[in-house]
Symmetry: C2
Subunit: 133 residues, 2 copies
Amino acid sequence: MNINNISEYLAQHGVRPSYQRTEIYKYIINNKSHPTAEMIFKKLAPAIPTLSKTTVYNTLKLFTDKNLVRILTIEENEKRYDAVSVVHGHFKCEVCGGIYDFDIDLSNIDEKIPDHFSIKNYQINLSGICNNH
Amino acid sequence: MNINNISEYLAQHGVRPSYQRTEIYKYIINNKSHPTAEMIFKKLAPAIPTLSKTTVYNTLKLFTDKNLVRILTIEENEKRYDAVSVVHGHFKCEVCGGIYDFDIDLSNIDEKIPDHFSIKNYQINLSGICNNH
DNA sequence: GTATCTGCAAAACATTTGCAATTCT
DNA sequence: AGAATTGCAAATGTTTTGCAGATAC
Protein backbone atom coordinates (compact mmCIF):
# COMPACT_ATOMS: atom_id res chain seq x y z
CA MET A 1 0.00 0.00 0.00
CA ASN A 2 1.10 3.53 -0.74
CA ILE A 3 2.16 5.06 2.55
CA ASN A 4 0.86 8.46 1.54
CA ASN A 5 -2.60 7.05 1.32
CA ILE A 6 -2.74 5.47 4.74
CA SER A 7 -4.65 8.33 6.33
CA GLU A 8 -7.15 8.24 3.52
CA TYR A 9 -7.44 4.48 3.77
CA LEU A 10 -8.10 4.59 7.50
CA ALA A 11 -10.68 7.33 7.01
CA GLN A 12 -12.45 5.24 4.38
CA HIS A 13 -12.80 2.53 6.98
CA GLY A 14 -14.27 4.81 9.58
CA VAL A 15 -11.10 5.39 11.56
CA ARG A 16 -10.02 8.95 12.15
CA PRO A 17 -6.37 9.02 11.17
CA SER A 18 -4.56 10.36 14.19
CA TYR A 19 -0.78 10.39 14.17
CA GLN A 20 -0.58 7.36 16.47
CA ARG A 21 -3.10 5.35 14.50
CA THR A 22 -1.43 6.08 11.20
CA GLU A 23 1.97 5.07 12.52
CA ILE A 24 0.61 1.88 14.05
CA TYR A 25 -1.18 0.89 10.88
CA LYS A 26 1.88 1.72 8.81
CA TYR A 27 3.98 -0.48 11.03
CA ILE A 28 1.62 -3.41 10.72
CA ILE A 29 1.44 -3.35 6.95
CA ASN A 30 5.16 -2.77 6.50
CA ASN A 31 6.18 -5.55 8.83
CA LYS A 32 5.22 -8.99 7.80
CA SER A 33 6.14 -10.16 11.27
CA HIS A 34 2.52 -10.19 12.50
CA PRO A 35 3.53 -8.17 15.51
CA THR A 36 2.19 -8.33 19.04
CA ALA A 37 1.06 -5.18 20.86
CA GLU A 38 4.32 -5.28 22.75
CA MET A 39 6.38 -5.41 19.57
CA ILE A 40 4.50 -2.48 18.08
CA PHE A 41 4.96 -0.46 21.23
CA LYS A 42 8.66 -1.23 21.58
CA LYS A 43 9.34 -0.37 17.97
CA LEU A 44 7.35 2.85 17.76
CA ALA A 45 7.94 4.28 21.23
CA PRO A 46 11.38 5.75 20.44
CA ALA A 47 9.98 7.70 17.52
CA ILE A 48 6.78 8.65 19.35
CA PRO A 49 8.01 9.33 22.88
CA THR A 50 4.59 9.99 24.35
CA LEU A 51 3.13 6.76 22.96
CA SER A 52 1.53 4.55 25.56
CA LYS A 53 0.79 0.89 25.50
CA THR A 54 -2.84 1.71 26.20
CA THR A 55 -3.02 3.60 22.94
CA VAL A 56 -1.53 0.66 21.11
CA TYR A 57 -4.17 -1.60 22.62
CA ASN A 58 -6.97 0.91 22.01
CA THR A 59 -5.89 1.27 18.42
CA LEU A 60 -5.58 -2.44 17.77
CA LYS A 61 -9.05 -2.94 19.20
CA LEU A 62 -10.40 -0.22 16.94
CA PHE A 63 -8.66 -1.65 13.87
CA THR A 64 -10.03 -5.08 14.67
CA ASP A 65 -13.56 -3.73 15.05
CA LYS A 66 -13.26 -1.90 11.75
CA ASN A 67 -11.93 -5.02 10.10
CA LEU A 68 -8.62 -3.44 9.22
CA VAL A 69 -6.59 -6.03 11.07
CA ARG A 70 -7.22 -9.56 12.21
CA ILE A 71 -6.21 -11.18 15.46
CA LEU A 72 -3.91 -14.13 15.01
CA THR A 73 -3.97 -16.75 17.73
CA ILE A 74 -0.93 -18.67 16.63
CA GLU A 75 0.82 -17.91 19.93
CA GLU A 76 -0.52 -19.53 23.03
CA ASN A 77 -0.08 -16.56 25.31
CA GLU A 78 -0.36 -13.36 23.33
CA LYS A 79 -2.21 -11.99 20.35
CA ARG A 80 -0.59 -11.14 17.08
CA TYR A 81 -2.04 -8.84 14.47
CA ASP A 82 -2.21 -9.25 10.74
CA ALA A 83 -3.33 -6.69 8.20
CA VAL A 84 -6.46 -7.99 6.55
CA SER A 85 -5.66 -9.34 3.10
CA VAL A 86 -6.14 -12.44 1.00
CA VAL A 87 -6.62 -15.65 2.92
CA HIS A 88 -3.34 -17.26 3.82
CA GLY A 89 -1.93 -19.62 6.38
CA HIS A 90 0.76 -19.17 8.98
CA PHE A 91 3.61 -21.41 9.97
CA LYS A 92 5.35 -20.76 13.28
CA CYS A 93 8.83 -22.12 13.85
CA GLU A 94 9.13 -23.55 17.33
CA VAL A 95 12.87 -22.95 17.35
CA CYS A 96 13.31 -19.37 16.19
CA GLY A 97 9.77 -18.13 16.73
CA GLY A 98 9.56 -16.88 13.17
CA ILE A 99 6.20 -16.79 11.46
CA TYR A 100 5.92 -17.53 7.77
CA ASP A 101 2.94 -16.95 5.51
CA PHE A 102 1.90 -19.47 2.93
CA ASP A 103 -0.87 -19.72 0.39
CA ILE A 104 -3.79 -21.99 1.02
CA ASP A 105 -6.62 -23.28 -1.04
CA LEU A 106 -9.85 -23.31 0.90
CA SER A 107 -12.11 -23.84 -2.08
CA ASN A 108 -13.40 -27.10 -0.70
CA ILE A 109 -13.69 -26.20 2.96
CA ASP A 110 -17.31 -25.11 2.73
CA GLU A 111 -18.38 -28.63 1.95
CA LYS A 112 -16.70 -29.87 5.12
CA ILE A 113 -18.73 -27.78 7.51
CA PRO A 114 -22.43 -28.31 8.21
CA ASP A 115 -25.08 -26.63 6.11
CA HIS A 116 -26.16 -23.16 7.12
CA PHE A 117 -22.95 -22.39 8.96
CA SER A 118 -21.59 -19.07 7.79
CA ILE A 119 -17.85 -18.60 7.95
CA LYS A 120 -16.60 -15.17 8.97
CA ASN A 121 -12.96 -15.92 9.63
CA TYR A 122 -10.29 -18.45 8.88
CA GLN A 123 -7.13 -19.28 10.70
CA ILE A 124 -4.82 -21.94 9.37
CA ASN A 125 -1.94 -22.16 11.79
CA LEU A 126 0.83 -24.68 11.51
CA SER A 127 3.84 -25.05 13.71
CA GLY A 128 7.03 -27.00 13.47
CA ILE A 129 10.60 -26.32 12.46
CA CYS A 130 11.64 -24.04 9.64
CA ASN A 131 14.48 -24.58 7.23
CA ASN A 132 16.99 -22.54 9.23
CA HIS A 133 17.33 -25.29 11.79
CA MET B 1 -11.99 -44.96 24.87
CA ASN B 2 -12.84 -47.46 27.53
CA ILE B 3 -13.00 -45.57 30.81
CA ASN B 4 -11.61 -48.54 32.69
CA ASN B 5 -8.45 -48.36 30.72
CA ILE B 6 -7.68 -44.71 31.30
CA SER B 7 -5.20 -45.35 34.06
CA GLU B 8 -3.44 -47.85 31.92
CA TYR B 9 -3.46 -45.51 28.95
CA LEU B 10 -1.96 -42.67 30.97
CA ALA B 11 0.70 -44.99 32.34
CA GLN B 12 1.61 -46.09 28.83
CA HIS B 13 2.25 -42.46 28.01
CA GLY B 14 4.51 -41.89 30.96
CA VAL B 15 1.94 -40.26 33.21
CA ARG B 16 1.39 -41.74 36.63
CA PRO B 17 -2.35 -42.10 36.92
CA SER B 18 -3.30 -40.23 40.07
CA TYR B 19 -6.96 -39.76 40.87
CA GLN B 20 -6.93 -36.12 39.76
CA ARG B 21 -5.15 -36.86 36.52
CA THR B 22 -7.42 -39.72 35.65
CA GLU B 23 -10.53 -37.64 36.30
CA ILE B 24 -9.19 -34.72 34.29
CA TYR B 25 -8.28 -36.90 31.35
CA LYS B 26 -11.63 -38.67 31.53
CA TYR B 27 -13.39 -35.33 31.45
CA ILE B 28 -11.48 -34.17 28.39
CA ILE B 29 -12.15 -37.24 26.32
CA ASN B 30 -15.80 -37.49 27.35
CA ASN B 31 -16.54 -33.86 26.61
CA LYS B 32 -16.19 -32.81 23.06
CA SER B 33 -16.43 -29.22 24.22
CA HIS B 34 -12.66 -28.68 24.12
CA PRO B 35 -12.75 -27.32 27.64
CA THR B 36 -10.68 -24.58 29.18
CA ALA B 37 -8.82 -25.10 32.47
CA GLU B 38 -11.56 -23.10 34.14
CA MET B 39 -14.30 -25.33 32.72
CA ILE B 40 -12.52 -28.46 33.84
CA PHE B 41 -12.01 -27.06 37.31
CA LYS B 42 -15.60 -25.86 37.68
CA LYS B 43 -17.00 -29.17 36.54
CA LEU B 44 -14.78 -31.46 38.58
CA ALA B 45 -14.41 -29.42 41.78
CA PRO B 46 -17.77 -30.49 43.28
CA ALA B 47 -16.87 -34.15 42.92
CA ILE B 48 -13.25 -33.64 44.00
CA PRO B 49 -13.57 -31.03 46.75
CA THR B 50 -9.87 -30.65 47.35
CA LEU B 51 -9.09 -30.08 43.68
CA SER B 52 -7.18 -26.92 42.99
CA LYS B 53 -6.87 -24.93 39.83
CA THR B 54 -3.11 -25.32 40.11
CA THR B 55 -3.48 -29.05 39.79
CA VAL B 56 -5.64 -28.61 36.73
CA TYR B 57 -2.99 -26.41 35.17
CA ASN B 58 -0.16 -28.72 36.24
CA THR B 59 -1.98 -31.69 34.79
CA LEU B 60 -2.81 -29.99 31.51
CA LYS B 61 0.82 -28.98 31.16
CA LEU B 62 1.89 -32.55 31.81
CA PHE B 63 -0.63 -33.96 29.34
CA THR B 64 0.53 -31.47 26.73
CA ASP B 65 4.17 -32.40 27.26
CA LYS B 66 3.32 -36.08 26.98
CA ASN B 67 1.34 -35.41 23.85
CA LEU B 68 -1.90 -36.64 25.35
CA VAL B 69 -3.72 -33.37 24.71
CA ARG B 70 -3.21 -30.50 22.38
CA ILE B 71 -3.63 -26.80 23.10
CA LEU B 72 -6.26 -25.15 20.98
CA THR B 73 -5.90 -21.43 20.36
CA ILE B 74 -9.31 -20.85 18.85
CA GLU B 75 -10.17 -18.43 21.67
CA GLU B 76 -8.36 -15.15 21.78
CA ASN B 77 -7.96 -15.01 25.54
CA GLU B 78 -7.77 -18.51 26.92
CA LYS B 79 -6.50 -21.92 26.00
CA ARG B 80 -8.72 -24.84 25.23
CA TYR B 81 -7.66 -28.46 25.32
CA ASP B 82 -8.38 -31.21 22.89
CA ALA B 83 -7.63 -34.90 23.31
CA VAL B 84 -5.11 -35.83 20.68
CA SER B 85 -6.78 -37.68 17.84
CA VAL B 86 -7.02 -37.58 14.08
CA VAL B 87 -6.47 -34.22 12.48
CA HIS B 88 -9.62 -32.18 12.37
CA GLY B 89 -10.70 -28.57 12.20
CA HIS B 90 -12.70 -26.44 14.59
CA PHE B 91 -15.50 -24.01 13.96
CA LYS B 92 -16.37 -21.54 16.68
CA CYS B 93 -19.78 -19.90 16.66
CA GLU B 94 -19.47 -16.23 17.52
CA VAL B 95 -23.02 -16.13 18.83
CA CYS B 96 -23.30 -19.11 21.15
CA GLY B 97 -19.62 -19.81 21.66
CA GLY B 98 -20.08 -23.42 20.63
CA ILE B 99 -17.17 -25.23 19.06
CA TYR B 100 -17.79 -27.80 16.35
CA ASP B 101 -15.33 -30.27 14.91
CA PHE B 102 -15.15 -30.99 11.21
CA ASP B 103 -13.02 -33.18 9.02
CA ILE B 104 -10.31 -31.69 6.93
CA ASP B 105 -8.14 -32.91 4.14
CA LEU B 106 -4.58 -31.71 4.51
CA SER B 107 -3.10 -34.07 1.96
CA ASN B 108 -1.83 -31.22 -0.18
CA ILE B 109 -0.69 -28.82 2.50
CA ASP B 110 2.90 -30.00 2.43
CA GLU B 111 3.34 -28.65 -1.04
CA LYS B 112 2.25 -25.21 0.10
CA ILE B 113 4.96 -24.72 2.66
CA PRO B 114 8.63 -24.25 1.82
CA ASP B 115 10.94 -27.22 1.42
CA HIS B 116 12.59 -28.57 4.55
CA PHE B 117 9.96 -27.19 6.88
CA SER B 118 8.77 -29.92 9.18
CA ILE B 119 5.22 -29.67 10.46
CA LYS B 120 4.60 -30.72 14.05
CA ASN B 121 1.13 -29.35 14.61
CA TYR B 122 -1.90 -28.21 12.71
CA GLN B 123 -4.67 -25.89 13.74
CA ILE B 124 -7.49 -25.15 11.38
CA ASN B 125 -9.79 -22.74 13.16
CA LEU B 126 -12.82 -21.18 11.58
CA SER B 127 -15.29 -18.85 13.17
CA GLY B 128 -18.67 -17.55 12.16
CA ILE B 129 -22.26 -18.35 12.92
CA CYS B 130 -23.64 -21.82 13.39
CA ASN B 131 -26.96 -23.12 12.24
CA ASN B 132 -28.74 -22.41 15.52
CA HIS B 133 -28.79 -18.68 14.81
C1' DG C 1 -17.04 24.48 22.93
C1' DT C 2 -17.89 19.86 22.50
C1' DA C 3 -16.66 15.38 21.17
C1' DT C 4 -12.85 12.48 20.51
C1' DC C 5 -8.40 10.71 21.59
C1' DT C 6 -4.50 9.77 24.51
C1' DG C 7 -2.07 7.85 28.30
C1' DC C 8 -1.28 7.09 33.29
C1' DA C 9 -2.54 4.16 36.96
C1' DA C 10 -5.09 0.55 38.57
C1' DA C 11 -7.79 -3.53 37.77
C1' DA C 12 -8.85 -7.82 35.67
C1' DC C 13 -7.92 -12.26 34.09
C1' DA C 14 -5.46 -16.45 32.70
C1' DT C 15 -1.49 -18.82 33.76
C1' DT C 16 2.91 -19.90 36.24
C1' DT C 17 5.91 -20.48 40.15
C1' DG C 18 7.69 -21.23 45.04
C1' DC C 19 7.10 -24.01 48.47
C1' DA C 20 5.09 -26.62 52.29
C1' DA C 21 1.93 -30.28 53.21
C1' DT C 22 0.18 -34.54 51.63
C1' DT C 23 0.17 -38.88 49.38
C1' DC C 24 2.04 -42.98 47.23
C1' DT C 25 5.20 -46.85 46.97
C1' DA D 1 11.97 -42.97 54.24
C1' DG D 2 12.14 -41.05 49.66
C1' DA D 3 10.06 -39.43 45.58
C1' DA D 4 6.24 -37.67 43.35
C1' DT D 5 2.00 -35.04 43.65
C1' DT D 6 -1.07 -31.65 45.31
C1' DG D 7 -2.69 -27.10 46.41
C1' DC D 8 -2.32 -22.56 48.69
C1' DA D 9 -0.56 -18.06 48.06
C1' DA D 10 1.96 -14.99 45.57
C1' DA D 11 3.92 -13.55 41.23
C1' DT D 12 3.78 -12.88 36.28
C1' DG D 13 2.34 -11.27 31.86
C1' DT D 14 -1.13 -9.70 28.79
C1' DT D 15 -5.05 -7.06 28.11
C1' DT D 16 -8.83 -4.01 29.79
C1' DT D 17 -10.90 -0.20 32.23
C1' DG D 18 -11.60 4.37 34.76
C1' DC D 19 -10.64 8.68 34.31
C1' DA D 20 -8.26 13.22 33.75
C1' DG D 21 -5.77 15.95 30.63
C1' DA D 22 -4.77 16.97 25.79
C1' DT D 23 -6.13 17.38 21.12
C1' DA D 24 -9.02 17.95 17.08
C1' DC D 25 -12.98 19.76 14.61
